[in-house]
Symmetry: D2
Subunit: 345 residues, 4 copies
């Protein structure tokens, strides 16, 4: 570890001590395997309460696993999924949707990381024009917050919901950073899924202070058929499930999710505020959560990468990504300011 | 059949009498099943001679079958295929590549129906930027002639070949209308695959006067592993293979393919020549083979569709497609002129 | 062709002249592609009349294609199919069920080629014992006539139907030789599917005198969802469909299927009758249709194979298979008698 | 938790305190995601040292994941896997091999849980008899220790290795309880894979005292191609990998695996020793590791299940399974004796 500051990813952050404590407490004696233990039941109940819905919850080890399991439950063999060209399911899941689900992803250009009703409608028309020769669109998948750190407003989610209703589509939310979106909007997690009338939610955790736990939340009961079998078949069923689910207990019981997400967002805002002073650093998108994408001259990019561990997101565009995590400290933010000033002034 | 002229598709045309005759002649006594019959051996030999290569030939019932079998042989589970957004494998095979092969299709915008080295390189950079999190690009798939009737020049094919060599990619040609391309360029079929250094060729037939027969031609011997098993597994192995393969015998022996393709191309050129007189009909692409795409005012579109059976290709763009087949007659071309004049003048 | 007699397979036989004639007649002018032509409509109507049901019919090029498409329509991702260990879908489709449908085949030992309710129940208990850790059995697939030439009686089919009802399973019939079964039982084709309450039927043709045509018949309307898309996706949708469907017109209109199947069965019976004279030739199963399986001493096997083209079915058991086709002549039967006498007496 | 003793599964046991400690220690500051952290490198090194081979190690969250990833790397689309009818990959992975890998599992009857060279050879002959119409056998997969608790001797493993060499097959070991086998044989873990010349090893952990961690060990470097991509695609790549891999550090560094496995085996032996006194309890297999399977009269079964939490393995056979874990205490063993005496004497 040779950099001064780490803004590479919220996946690089450690787990919050309360989460570790909860795992330690769950390590008590024998307990039923495969999710029939009391911790899993409690965590599921907490999530149901959080979302104010009698949803079925499948705890899984990876976010990609939650997404793919969602598509398995939502899509028949000939159906397809609409998403942006920057979607995680399209761009960073190593072809899992195609290889494991077998569905086609119909991509449309994103606008600030978001899918727009206009682009969806255009794609629906062209894909449906050839009937059985093309696929049958079935799902819209959106990330909240998006892969570039922006947030769908409640109004935008309602519009997507309306479109889904009109076009008989299901709505899937990739919520690996849902907490950051709720913190940004100052709303409850349940308001996000209610506005969207979401059918399936990939609920994050790992990126917001857990050791490693994600969940697939089935909000539409019609999609539960086969879910237990498919969790196993999709390699997402842990035997000692308690160590996964127990992580969610303090997370929801103490609203730890909110504290951690607010903190990460705040740090990103603080960093973004410096950018006003450095005109050679151009933000690619509004900074609404804990992610910043910005372009800069090549030499500046190189200098920043020497001091701050971060991702060169798009080499051609000379775009860097900073991600603040729950664990990013005020000292680190100050160091970022110092480093950027040294390079840019 | 209530229209005056039929330009809906070369798939609507009947089979040429010599082809039917060849099938009748193959219907003589018992013969080994699954391709071990003398007609299949002869047809394979004729194709090897045509392409001047010791290629393995798999006769299959559909062009989509040939394409999918090609991708099965070329791609590992984590590998992907570059093609245009208008490619048949992307747009009109009902998601077969994803559902059966499991590979991701990486689409790039087409230019006159063609893929360009520049767009390929751009996509390669972005897909490779995230290593194991994305797919490993493995194949470039191009249609010759393209889905919009244009033709890659020999020089363009050489450039693609060079790019494949540099980037360690395989080249697949979807040649469902390869004959029309060769006729347009005035070259031999073998020159097309040689220029491209193609590894796999989906060789058409049905659209150029056969009753129904296509072939997958394996030009790269390294891809033959498992081919026989996969033909069976991919539902492409006919038991009475002789009736498929026999169709190719007069087709290649008598160079019937050339005669029929030239005729279809010529009819399309004749029709295209009328368009100069009707400025409200705007050709979408250069008419290089047997297909014409054009846009027109809505009322004109409707009037044409009443008299001429053809496909409304893109409703939003008000674009119609005319396809001439080997069987399109000079009388039909004259009728097209009369009808268009009546509508447009 | 160097043997005196050909009993290798009904797939080796030529097409009946009336079938060829029907194809020639269908080769008239332009016609809509992909099954919207009048021949396809007529053939579908004839099949509906034959089975006395408003079934949907998908004409496909191969029997394996019909079987696999049936399983795609019947099975969700976590569901499985019960069949015998000798089933075509298990043993001779190169793993297509697993590779393309992704379903598990739960095999049980056959008794004279047939699946028994007792074995099915035993397998259901063991597979269901572990809930989500195993698959959910969904389909029973039986071949009628079976892969070893035996026939399920109407009573046996009723028992399977009853079991399916009790256990909430679907019934699929692989009817690549359904005609031979009906001829053997002296019943109508409709009586077979009615007795079984079959949900899906792979209806043969190629083995009984066609050039090459099979059909998937959907008897349970609840399974039609997505069928058109899946036919395309599964590489089973021919563009010039008329040449496939037209083959079925004389077949059903003139009840040609019955004549040809009766003839094939009769020839097999005649050959079987000789076996009484040759105690070293031991029939493996009752000869109920057009197939004979028998074991013999190694030297006898070799001598037979020199004169009669037939399949060594099981080397270890020294088992040969004879198949009579619609085209097997009385002269050939006489030659078989002569040859066997020469070897065995 | 209402039973006196828990012998349901080694998956029910808690994690060993040293394992928990190692996870706590790994929770220090930022660390690279997806396996590029120092704990993962150290754990991989320890495994390489343990197996005395420069093997590539992929840490994964589930044993089913390790198995399926192994088959993805080993099998082409048309290839198949030989295993027993009691294999975990066949019976208790909810059809994942078929659904995700697409390969056929060719099952053969087990003898005391083991696959035999004789049965393998028989299956090879029958599957290969029909060439492209069947699958191409490619992998033998064995569990060590087996699903019924028995152990392949080093000599038996050598025989399998020899057979693989002769028949050009790969060998996969499902080692979810490899430690118990090594403890039973009193040999090193490396001796097991060396005797078998194993190409791929699913290395357990969760069942032997970890919180939840498994690994796929690639012993044959030719199989590494695409492994990183496939780990991601198969939903087996954790972002915060350190919490998985850190579990293995004390496990191998301190040879904790051996201590825990020996203890579990010993407890099972102690329990097995009581069975001599109760003739109505009939062991199904020799008790070689930490599992006991036994049959008993129905009333006895019911009485045992009331006091001891265990699995009714086969209802029809009235067979129970006891599994001792690293955490099974001498007090529990004594309680088992008391309970069984109360019921059986």
């Amino acid at each position: 570890m040779t950099h001064e500051v780490y803004l590479a990813s919220d996946n690089w952050a450690p787990a919050h001590p309360l989460i570790v404590q909860s795992v330690i407490e769950a390590n008590e004696g024998d307990a039923p395997a495969y999710g029939a233990d009391p911790w899993t039941l409690q965590a599921e109940k907490l999530i149901q309460d959080t979302f104010r819905a009698p949803c079925k919850v499948l705890f899984v080890p990876t976010g990609t696993g939650a997404n793919i399991l969602a598509l398995m439950l939502a899509c028949q063999r000939h159906e397809s999924v609409l998403c942006t060209d920057s979607a995680h399911i399209q761009y960073q899941e190593s072809g899992a949707a195609e290889a494991l689900v077998g569905c086609k992803l119909l991509t449309v250009p994103h606008r600030n990381g978001k899918i727009t009703p206009q682009e969806i409608r255009r794609k629906l028309v062209s894909e449906r024009a050839f009937g059985k020769h093309s696929t049958a669109p079935r799902v819209i998948s959106v990330a909240q917050s998006t892969e570039v750190g922006t947030v769908y407003t409640l109004e935008e989610l309602k519009q997507l919901s309306q479109l889904c209703k009109e076009e008989k589509l299901l709505l899937h939310i990739d919520g690996s950073r849902l907490y950051n979106a709720a913190a940004a909007l100052g709303c409850g997690l349940h308001e996000l899924v209610e506005a969207a009338h979401a059918d399936l939610l990939s609920l994050g955790g790992t990126k917001n202070g857990l050791l490693g736990a994600e969940a697939l939340v089935l909000l539409n009961p019609a999609l539960e058929k086969g879910a237990d079998h498919l969790q196993k078949q999709a390699l997402q069923l842990l035997s000692k499930m308690r160590y996964l689910s127990a992580q969610y207990i303090p997370f929801f019981k103490e609203k730890l999710w909110q504290l951690l997400a607010e903190q990460a967002n705040l740090r990103a805002q603080e960093i973004a505020s410096f950018f006003l002073e450095f005109p050679q650093l151009v933000l690619s998108y509004p900074v609404e959560t804990n992610q910043l994408f910005f372009t800069a001259p090549e030499a500046t990019i190189a200098a920043i990468q020497e001091k701050i561990r971060c991702h060169l997101w798009d080499k051609e565009k000379r775009e860097l990504r900073f991600i603040a995590s729950w664990n990013t400290s005020q000292e680190e933010v100050a160091a970022v300011k110092r480093i950027l000033s040294g390079i840019c002034l």
